[in-house]
């Protein structure tokens, strides 16, 4: 996981490990490739696809208007707000349950079946159920986000709490450390990298959950923005919505890498 984090960081800074000594040709190659992809898209779509299909030049032309559109800004705020709210709730409860499962065997044995099962269940499948339970409104979206994020956090925190180095626990025992010290100073601390890994997974799933819920419940948000514009054949505008989602994804990824580098440099290589 950490190795992957370094790679992602390297990829995002426009360098890669094998050729980090020569970053500049790398950047040039990337730009050339990007331009080539965009050109192929433009020409290919113009030649073979119906007129309404998005083309890079059309997207660029639509971009400023969409970004300044208050409806689009409201949609972004609505989706992002719900994702952050859902993620914080999932994180708070997920960490508690994850640590309890990792450190106390009864909890693990009681909950393992359900946590693993619900983690493997595709979250779209419960969407109609959540919509029935929480009503066709924003609560259903929030519930979907929590559901999507919760189990990946629990699973990762549990693995983290399990993998506390036994030496630390022995030292704690030898010095008769209080239980709360063992839990919060040792266990929580050494499972932090796992929490970050879980949070990375959870943020991706939460974003997917938010968009799917918006499609399903017809709720204001980026997903709905994309859906309505794609339906009315304004694909260029809709693609800007997709770009916003990709930007959220990259932003979460970037924040996680920053947190790893800034606060958890000791967790680099296990």
């Amino acid at each position: 996981m950490n190795k992957q984090a370094t790679h992602v960081a390297a990829a995002m800074m426009g360098t890669s490990r094998s050729s980090s000594a020569f970053p500049r040709p790398d950047v040039r190659v990337k730009i050339v490739a990007g331009v080539a992809i965009l050109a192929a898209w433009q020409v290919g779509v113009a030649a073979f696809a119906p007129r309404f299909v998005a083309k890079p030049l059309g997207i660029a032309a639509a971009f400023p208007a969409v970004i300044t559109d208050p409806a689009f800004q409201a949609a972004v705020a609505s989706t992002l707000g719900a994702v952050l709210q859902g993620l914080s709730f999932a994180m708070l409860t997920g960490v508690i349950i994850g640590i309890a499962m990792g450190r106390v065997k009864v909890f693990d044995r009681l909950l393992n079946l359900y946590v693993n099962g619900l983690y493997a269940m595709p979250m779209v499948a419960v969407l109609p159920l959540l919509a029935t339970w929480f009503g066709y409104e924003s609560n259903a979206r929030l519930a979907t986000i929590v559901f999507a994020a919760f189990f990946s956090i629990v699973i990762n925190v549990r693995d983290g709490a399990r993998s506390v180095p036994p030496e630390y626990l022995e030292v704690c025992k030898a010095y008769r450390a209080k239980r709360r010290h063992v839990w919060f100073d040792i266990t929580l601390h050494s499972s932090l990298p796992y929490l970050v890994a879980g949070f990375r997974l959870a943020s991706g799933r939460a974003l997917v959950g938010a968009v799917i819920a918006e499609f399903f419940v017809s709720l204001e948000g980026v997903g709905m923005y994309i859906l309505t514009h794609a339906r009315s054949f304004q694909h260029n505008e809709a693609v800007v919505g997709v770009l916003a989602l990709a930007a959220f994804g990259l932003f979460f990824e970037w924040v996680m890498n920053w947190v790893m580098r800034r606060f958890l440099p000791w967790a680099r290589r296990s």
């Binding site: 493997a120 109609p128 339970w133 994309i226």
Partner: protein, 264 residues
């Protein structure tokens, strides 16, 4: 007492597991009997109105339902296999052609973090209804995790190994067989595990939002009726399917994980 329930003795483990199942079933049963039947259905139910477990058994004999399951599985398998067949060789080619890898990896990362659900409206309005647009959705969900992770493996191939092989005039095929495939395989399998989960999401999402079919249709119809027993039974079946597929992918991944970073 606390010592006892936390002990590793086999009977304690088994007892806790049994209690866990019974407790879960009891909570479900209680909720099913006491909640509004529009919101919840019991697991066992009464003889007049059998619950989810009985419905699941009924499903096995129901040819319509069997057809729905098969259609879902066909959709999943087609999209997933296509993604596999394209993404893995492409990733390995990127391991071989470093320049191409450097050129494309940032864009692959961007597509990997983009929620692919957002592309469903485009697939719908360009390609319309039918089987193949749905396959495309499953393909999109599965493709980027596999490619991204295979690329991760491609980065782990040491350039020295390829240079040595080249200077001993190894054939292209033996380079693939002895260096590229063994190095990238464990990473590709991580991607395949991730892709399994995502492709299942893609499968259900495609069945919901494009032309409804398969298990997605069963859930949709049940949510409109509303027939909670059918809905919960279909969701349970999908969960079982998900657990089996994920477990299989995990086993496969662990089997080859020892190959990862032999000398790194």
């Amino acid at each position: 007492m606390i010592e006892l329930i936390n002990s590793d003795a086999r009977w304690v483990r088994r007892a806790t597991f049994t209690i866990s199942i019974l407790l879960g079933a009891a909570i479900w049963e209680y909720a099913g009997h006491n909640a509004n039947p529009l919101f919840m259905a019991p697991l066992i139910g009464s003889t007049q109105s059998p619950g989810v477990a009985a419905r699941l058994v009924d499903f096995i004999g129901d040819s319509q339902f069997r057809a729905a399951t098969l259609s879902s599985l066909k959709l999943f398998a087609t999209g997933f296999v296509l993604a596999l067949v394209v993404a893995v060789p492409f990733g390995i080619i990127l391991a071989r052609l470093t320049l191409l890898r450097v050129a494309l990896e940032s864009y692959i990362l961007v597509l990997y973090v983009t929620p692919m659900v957002a592309l469903i409206p485009f697939v719908l309005s360009i390609l319309g209804f039918g089987f193949w647009p749905k396959v495309l959705v499953v393909f999109l969900f599965a493709f980027f995790p596999i490619l991204y992770n295979t690329l991760e493996g491609a980065r782990s191939v040491k350039p020295e190994l390829l240079e040595v092989a080249g200077s001993f005039r190894a054939s292209e095929w033996s380079m693939w067989q002895d260096i590229l495939i063994p190095y990238t395989l464990p990473f590709a399998l991580t991607g395949i595990r991730q892709a399994t989960g995502r492709a299942l999401v893609g499968m259900i999402a495609a069945e919901f939002f494009l032309s409804t079919s398969g298990l997605g249709e069963v859930i949709m119809v049940a949510s409109r009726t509303p027939d909670m027993t059918n809905m919960l039974a279909a969701i349970s079946l999908i969960t079982i399917l998900g657990v089996i597929l994920m477990r299989g992918a995990q086993v496969l991944e662990q089997k080859f994980s020892a190959w990862r970073g032999v000398d790194g």
